[in-house]
Symmetry: D2
Subunit: 262 residues, 4 copies
């Protein structure tokens, strides 16, 4: 029995690539395409891309229904993502779609909405060194990495990172300038697995880094949906259907068969 290929969609904001010559030079085809190449390079996943500028930001219901894991990179235009698209992404995560938020996507609308916190950080752009330590060497996302890996030049993010306690912390970063950061964290919302991964500032060629690409491949594999769907219909169960004998003993707001308020 062969499993069907993992269907990954890489969503890129695609703004800096159009406006900033440094970013355009590093990522001439857009960051989303470089990220997609890194995920696809071992042939384990079928990877597509979508951008903010596409109709419905490339996130139609049909597209999301055909996506197992959504990888998100945004920065300058978080506020341009339409609320109804954010709602749609969340509904699909609750059903089981994995969601990987990259770098500045800590402030993306879907990530903030999944976390329920402000998701703030401290930050500095100085091209300093970052060393990511594996805190959880048994975790599938850290597979193939020894004790740590390094990124020679990057933007710094520092604690406090205003997130709910992660289910597991996979990486913590050490920065040359003196800060630390929980750079790889997992959560679950509904049936959807979520991973935040810090590396990826747009003025550095971070998505060409082989270990960063390895983590992305590990993460999409980890985040793939379990085979059953979340039951989320909020059904009214009539007294007749109760599993124990039940007589109606009080008044009601709702009629038999009526849907509840939302």
């Amino acid at each position: 029995m062969t499993s069907p290929p993992l269907r990954v969609l890489v969503w890129g904001e695609n703004v800096h690539e159009q406006q900033n010559p440094i970013v355009r030079e590093i990522y001439p085809n857009g960051m989303h395409n470089t990220i997609a190449e890194g995920i696809a390079e071992k042939g384990e996943a079928e990877v597509k891309t979508a951008t903010l500028q596409d109709p419905e930001h490339g996130l139609s219901k049909e597209t999301l229904d055909a996506t197992d894991v959504l990888v998100w990179w945004g920065h300058a235009a978080h506020g341009e993502v339409q609320p109804e698209i954010v709602d749609r992404v969340l509904a699909r995560v609750w059903e089981g779609m994995g969601f990987i938020a990259l770098h500045s996507s800590h402030y993306s609308r879907p990530f903030i909405r999944l976390m329920g916190t402000s998701c703030s950080v401290t930050w500095r752009e100085a091209g300093e060194k970052e060393r990511l330590w594996v805190c959880n060497p048994g975790h599938p996302i850290a597979q193939g990495i020894d004790r740590y890996f390094e990124i020679e030049n990057t933007e710094m993010y520092g604690e406090p990172f205003a997130i709910p306690t992660p289910d597991e912390v996979v990486f913590i970063s050490w920065f040359e300038g003196g800060e630390v950061f929980r750079s790889g964290c997992t959560w679950k919302r509904g049936n959807g697995k979520i991973f935040y991964f810090r590396p990826g500032h747009e003025v550095y060629p971070i998505y060409y880094h082989p270990t960063v690409r390895l983590v992305l491949r590990n993460a999409v594999t980890w985040a793939k949906p379990d085979p059953i769907k979340w039951i989320d219909s909020c059904p009214q169960i009539s007294a007749d259907q109760a599993l124990e004998p039940l007589t109606i003993k009080g008044p009601r707001i709702h009629k038999e068969g009526e849907a509840g308020f939302r």
Copy 2:
């Protein structure tokens, strides 16, 4: 040294009380006022009320800044709560304000936004018996209750309750009709403590029940803010301010002193 009194605000949707004669008869002054009386009855807290119909739903910035714990009851009009008010409530929770969601407020906008999940349940209105078991007898919210307490007539909510794993489960309900439900759950978002408490259907006099009132008093005491505020400014740290000697080694997106993207 005496502590200042705990400042509690009970928010009521105040819709059914106007429209449904059964609810009006049980709660002639509105559910919010009965809930407020129950919280205030031992004199430990200073309790005010606000409703959907008030300007800014009674939730101006000044009011929220002067609130330690917000208690929320909504059902028929979740969708009428303005998004910018929901944002304001969340920002204050992150700063430290406690948030208690009651009964049908599992579907209220602030609660869903804090959880990041659909918060769905199954339900049945048959006036059946509910028995709430204390799962965590050492928890401050269960103080004064022995092993369980009962509500003679209530609406049923059943699992699956689509929430993130609670930090602690304080109560689980047994229902006459055969279901179970995690009826008392805690979480933290930013510096704000959150408690969901299931009892409280509007066509039954549940907010007059002495143990329900005891739980409400315990819960607001538990949820009071810790004395320090959350730092949530997302500051840019300049290379000059770095704690270790740092030379700028790469390009930048942001100018010195600039705020980041949100």
Copy 3:
């Protein structure tokens, strides 16, 4: 590429089967063999058994090293399991071996040691009905079950169940006599996945129940080790090996290359 088969070891205390005629009649080959048959019946796993009476309780280092998931049933003789064997089981769990604790094994030495709590419950033997609700319909352990399943006659366990907050609650039980219980719970310790599953009282034929067997098969599949081992050597890192330039600036307790205290 085919995966090697999952190697499951079912450990049975094998005491009641020798001493109690009711248990012997229901489980003439011992409970461990019936449990093993249930796990093996779809051919997905290679299942062996071990008992308290075997040399080293059937849990030699070689056997544990060749075990992916250990399933544990004990009741009358928890205290007879030798401490050094318990230590050995824990060390293998930390390395990645899954551990499934069944029914009265809430009080088994390995489970208590993995939890760090008393693991107490309330209980009643009256042959009453139990209904297990799926709280987390997307969880792999609940796969193939609709909203609930029932066991017609069983012992009751009631809350409070003195465990650390589970990572996920998969099942909550409703009992005919009026109690509730978190009957399916997961945790992780080191790299090992742990599942507690309540059904299984020895004077009822519960391990012949098709849905109980389905849950056992789902659980061993879920608990299988991830492909990498936990690094747990507690190494001294010499100043020479430091990743940043480091001069020794203070006194030391340990000599270079020395192991630390344990």
Copy 4:
């Protein structure tokens, strides 16, 4: 109403102070006494001490019953702490006593038993600088600290720290030599609150550091027991006492009124 003073017991292994001249010079009265002074210096707590060499290690049942929070420092002699004393400490934690494990006590028997994991770290003695970042600025244990504090000379502990996911991470350390570590972590076991705090190597005067002392004071205040005791009697509930009408429908292992197996 004035609260009774918080009763803190500082347990010191008291071995290095006797054997190592560097430690004796820094801590002439023993580390436990210096730690106790730091906790007592604002007069908020009544602080006593006990050592390994005392009868029953100074941890008689009477002493533990009169202790609200136990602070533990051990290193060279973890294995000399008697198992029955460890059991006694755990039983009292489950009842509500707070437990603060310091530095090398990550490997102490009570801490390992509460965690259920190996609690391993990496380490280096080079007198290097440590900077502890506040990850959770709203947490009571971080009260009075701005964004970070520094220890000029210390032993390093590095990730992976083999612990279960903490309920909250309060501090993460940055080390001069390039490592990171989760240096302040909280858990709950039964009704007892647990805090691990990394600083405290015996050949450096770390327990004289004003911020380290502030954290110790904050931590014992945070860890104080809630006013109710954990119910942990594991009672048999007879069918007659069932809350719903119940007829005995099957065989039993236990007689009426019998205690269960442990």
